[in-house]
Amino acid sequence: MSTLQDVKARLQAGCAAIVAAEDRLTEADRMVGDGDHGVGMARGFRAAMQALDTKAAATVADLFRITGVAVLSTSGGASGAIFGTFFMSAAGSLKDDRIGNEAFVAALEQGLASVKSRGGAGEGQKTVIDALVPAIEHARQAGGDFQTMLEAAAEGARQGVEATRNMRGAAGKALPLGDRAIGHVDPGALSLMVFLTAFARPVADE
């Protein structure tokens, strides 16, 4: 179980990690896309940090929605739509002021479903989906508390990112690369991993 306060701090940490990883994300996109992924993600998640700071939230859903709206309306590009949709859709079921393992997994699943239907891509097409799917899998199978589950999710995302290295480009700007995309990880998947890793780090009590 996690409190509203805790989730908010974790979201903030996730956003901050994206902003800090800007150059790394951009560099990944230079290899398989148009070299702007970090720029757009940093723009969106910086806005999300600010929104989380200033906007009132009564439920975990509010927090996710605030994050999603900020990203959707600030990032632009494919990642803005994908990550914005993901957070807004994940918010759907989190109507409480706290969140447990099951609700979290359900939220991720809802996010995944919306990302799939929004972008039309499936698994194995070298997108954020390929980090999200193993993250959900690991989270679902993780025993233990909320913290343990989050760490499992982050580890799943990490493995997912690695798996994208061997995938050919089949969606987004990596598509025309086809086989030439092999050897490089997917920038969007990397972003999800960066976010989840920071989100999974225990929040120090003030």
Partner: protein, 333 residues
């Protein structure tokens, strides 16, 4: 090598470009309040609306083609980043006149998703939209995956004319779909441009290499090779375009030679000879030639060749009067 740009800061770039366009338009354009979007100031009351847009960095596309007989509003994303749904939605509301709104933009994951979200939001407000994605780039094999490149020029021109004349939104959309079925392009990159945010070149290309089929964001093309003589290159590109549709003996076409940024009109004119000789040989008759910078990719050097097959309908819409920063034809002072 890094880019070298006359800008202030990447963060202020889009609003500054917008302000520059507004001033250069001398009142012909108006900013959509609160949005990175410029609309024509003389938007008629009773018109099917045409919304275009995409990432910035391709100027004059799309903002240079807003005006009578062209687009009604252009939504400007950040450099190489599709605009956000809220900006698209604001633009949609601003030009909606009760007869529906046509979206015309390039077929990229980012644009598709952001425009689709906007369309769904517009739907909830009772604004009907139709979408025609530009997908003229023959460098991509699978038709549904094709990117929108310089063919956007003819499609926006035709869409603008169709939205001015059509009876219904569906009729207008049908005209633009018909145009899409008849337009094909191929590009070549000679030197990379650089992103304002990172200063980095969008791709690496050796000093004696070119890449045929490179996309307008530096996405990979079909073949990298040593810089060939202009005639060889033009022949190959023309062949790729002609064979794809295919264009056939007896066809009449419009030809666009588009400068991707840092190429010269000189080079385009050299290429033009060979394209025309090839088309002559194939019995394809060029009725109209447009040449210059229509859809750029920052300061990338390179160009693209676009052919649009003309029938009576398309010839009419391509040739109809229009007025904008980037193209004015057939309209009195």
């Amino acid at each position: 090598m890094k880019g070298k740009k006359i800008i202030n800061s990447p963060e202020r770039l889009i609003p500054e470009i917008m302000e520059g366009f507004l001033l250069a338009s001398h009142g012909a354009l108006t900013q959509v309040p609160g949005a990175n979007a410029l609309m024509r100031s003389d938007m008629p009351q009773d018109k099917i609306a045409l919304v275009v847009g995409g990432g910035s960095g391709h100027e004059p596309m799309y903002t240079g083609f807003v005006g009578d007989g062209l687009a009604d509003v252009s939504v400007m994303g950040n450099v190489f980043a599709a605009p956000t749904p809220d900006n698209i939605l604001e633009a949609t509301r601003a030009v909606h006149r009760g007869r529906g709104v046509l979206y015309v933009y390039g077929n990229y994951a980012g644009d598709n998703m952001n425009f689709d979200i906007a369309a769904e939001l517009a739907q909830t407000e009772g604004i009907e939209t139709r979408t025609v994605r530009i997908m003229d780039d023959v460098a991509v094999a699978r038709h549904e995956d094709r990117r929108g490149i310089a063919g956007a020029f003819y499609q926006v021109k035709i869409a603008g004319s169709a939205c001015r004349e059509a009876d219904t939104l569906d009729d207008a959309a049908a005209v633009v779909e018909h145009a899409r079925a008849n337009v094909r392009s191929i590009g070549v990159a000679v030197r990379a441009g650089s992103l304002p945010e990172t200063g980095k070149l969008t791709f690496e290309l050796a000093d004696d290499e070119i890449e045929i089929g490179m996309g307008s964001h530096g996405e990979p093309g079909v073949e990298r090779r040593k810089l060939p003589p202009a005639d060889d290159l033009a022949r190959e590109m023309t062949r790729m375009v002609v064979d794809d549709l295919p264009f056939r003996r007896g066809d009449e076409v419009a030809l666009l030679l588009n400068n991707l940024g840092a190429s010269t009109l000189m080079e385009l004119m050299v290429v033009n000879r060979t394209v025309r000789a090839m088309l002559d040989d194939a019995g394809i008759c060029v009725r109209r030639t447009d040449s210059g910078a229509y859809l750029t990719s920052l300061e990338m050097a390179g160009f693209s060749v676009t052919l649009l097959r003309l029938d009576e309908l398309l010839a009419h819409h391509v040739g109809s009067p229009c007025r904008s920063l980037g193209l004015t034809q057939g309209i009195g002072a």
